[in-house]
Homo-oligomer: 232 residues x 2
DNA sequence: CGACTCCTTGACAGCGTTCAACAGTAGTGG
DNA sequence: CCACTACTGTTGAACGCTGTCAAGGAGTCG
C-alpha cells in the first residue's frame, strides 16, 4: 500500500542529527503516507529508496522461517530508515500506525557518494555507525538482561527519544514491544505491572494503556544496569 | 599486555574482503603479539588503533555492571576489528589464545577519509556495513532462537568462516561460546550433546573437546531455520 | 448485539539456569 | 613419582524465569 498525499507541513517533534544535511534538501523528497499495518518494504527487496518518518512510527524486523519475529528498531518522527549499503533491504519495514514519510531515491540522495562528496559520505557513515551502535547495545540486552531490565531499557530509550515528555504515548502495541525485546506480550505486561507496583511508573487504563508516566527515571535506570551510560 | 615481535611472515588462512586495499598497504601496519587472555583494548578506551588478526583469535564484548558479558563477535585470522567512527571503542577486546595482530594507527590508515579518498571511504563503509549485518543477524538469534538453534548457527558460522574444514578446531572455550550465544556453558554443552546424539556432528574427547566434525551441514542448517540464506 | 482485537492476570509447563558431582588434563612442589 | 590444586567440560537434579494456555475486561467495528 502506497498513497500519495498532498503537500502540507508536518510538525515532526524533532529531527535528530541523522543525515541532517541530506534531509534538509527538501527537493529530493517525495511525501508518502502508509496506513497502519501496511508494509513499506519487505526483507530482501531492492533498496531503491530511503525514508524519513515525519509522523507516526515504523518497525523494522526480521523473521525466522516459522514466523518468529525480531524487531530491530522503531523509527519515530525525524528518524531515517531504509539506508542500505547493498542492493537489498536486510529488514522488512511496516507502519505501526498511520504514518507519513518522506521518500527519496537512493540514487539521487547518494549521488555524491561515488564522486567523493565528503559531507554526504560522512553523513551516511555516521548514520550507519549510529545504527550499529544501537544494534550492539541491543545485543547485550537480548543476550544477557532479564525481562524487567529489558522493559526498563525500552522505556528509557523511548523516553529519551521523545525528549522525556510527561506522558510517554507509545505508538506500538505490546506485541511489538515483545518482539523488540525478545519476550512475549504476557511477559512484557507482567514486567510493566511489576514496575507499576514498585511505583516507578503508571500505566493508563482502558484506551490509555499505551500511555505511560515515569515517576522515577533514576530508579528505572538502576534496573537497566548497563555500564554504557546512554542508549541513543 | 603488549609485546613487540620480530617481523616474520604469518600464514593467515585467508584474508577476507574486509578493508582489503587498506590491509594490503603493509607499511602501515606494526606487528604485535598478545598472550592468551590479555586485553587488547577496553570498552570506552580511545580508539586510536585498528587491528587485523594474523594468527589466533579475538573476542569483542560488552559487560553489564554486575559482570554479565555479551560477546559481540569473534575475530579470526584475516578479520579486522577495532574500527570505530567515534573517539572510543564501544567493545572491549581480548585475545582468546596467543594471538598475533597487525596494528595501524587510525589516523594514518584513514588519512584519506577526510580528503575524500573514495576507495578508502568505500572500504570503511563496506566494513561497517558488514559488521552491522552480522549484528542484525545476531539480534534475531539472541531474541528468538532456542539453545540448539543458537549452537547450530554458531557452528555453521565458524564452519563457513574457516572455509568448511574437515575438523573445526574452535579457538574459544565453552564459556566464550555461551557468552556469544546468550546461554550458559552447561546449556551449550547440552546442545552439543543433543546434536552429537542426532549424528549431526562429533565432538573430540579429552584434549580435543574443542574439535568438532560436522557430518551433516544441511541438517544443521535446517535447525537454524533462518530465512536469511547465508550468515557471513 | 456479536465477533474481533488488545491487554492483563492466573495457572501451569518447560526450557534454560543454578547447583553439584565428576572426569580429564595441566601445573606445582614435596 | 605422586599428591594436591586448578581449570575445563559434561552430566544430573532441582529450581525458577519466561512461555503457553486460558479466561476475562475494555474497546472497536459492522
Amino acid at each position: 500500500m502506497f498513497i500519495q498525499v498532498s503537500a502540507n507541513e508536518i510538525a515532526a517533534k524533532h529531527v535528530s542529527g541523522q543525515l541532517n544535511e541530506l534531509a534538509r534538501q527538501r527537493a529530493l523528497w517525495r511525501k508518502v503516507k502508509y496506513r497502519e499495518g501496511s508494509e513499506i518494504f519487505g526483507e530482501a527487496e531492492p533498496a531503491d529508496y530511503v525514508y524519513q518518518v515525519r509522523q507516526g512510527a515504523v518497525r523494522t524486523y526480521k523473521r525466522l522461517c516459522d514466523g518468529r519475529r525480531q524487531i530491530g528498531a522503531f523509527h519515530l518522527p525525524g528518524d531515517i530508515f531504509g539506508v542500505e549499503d547493498g542492493k537489498v533491504h536486510r529488514f522488512a519495514a511496516e507502519a505501526i500506525v498511520d504514518t507519513r514519510v518522506w521518500v527519496a531515491t537512493r540514487r539521487r540522495l547518494f549521488a555524491g557518494l561515488a564522486k567523493g562528496d565528503t559531507s554526504a559520505t560522512n553523513n551516511v557513515r555516521n548514520f550507519v555507525t549510529r545504527t550499529l551502535e544501537h544494534a550492539e547495545n541491543h545485543l547485550l540486552l537480548l543476550g544477557r538482561q532479564n525481562s524487567v531490565e529489558r522493559v526498563a531499557a525500552f522505556l528509557l530509550e523511548i523516553d529519551s527519544r521523545l525528549e522525556q515528555p510527561y506522558v510517554i504515548v507509545l505508538p506500538m502495541r505490546r506485541r511489538d514491544i515483545a518482539d523488540y525485546l525478545g519476550l512475549t506480550v504476557e511477559t512484557v505486561s507482567r514486567a510493566l505491572s511489576i514496575l507499576r507496583d514498585e511505583g516507578v511508573l503508571s500505566v493508563g487504563r482502558g484506551l490509555m494503556r499505551r500511555e505511560i508516566v515515569l515517576h522515577d527515571r533514576s530508579k528505572l535506570a538502576e534496573r537497566v544496569c548497563q555500564s554504557d551510560p546512554e542508549r541513543h
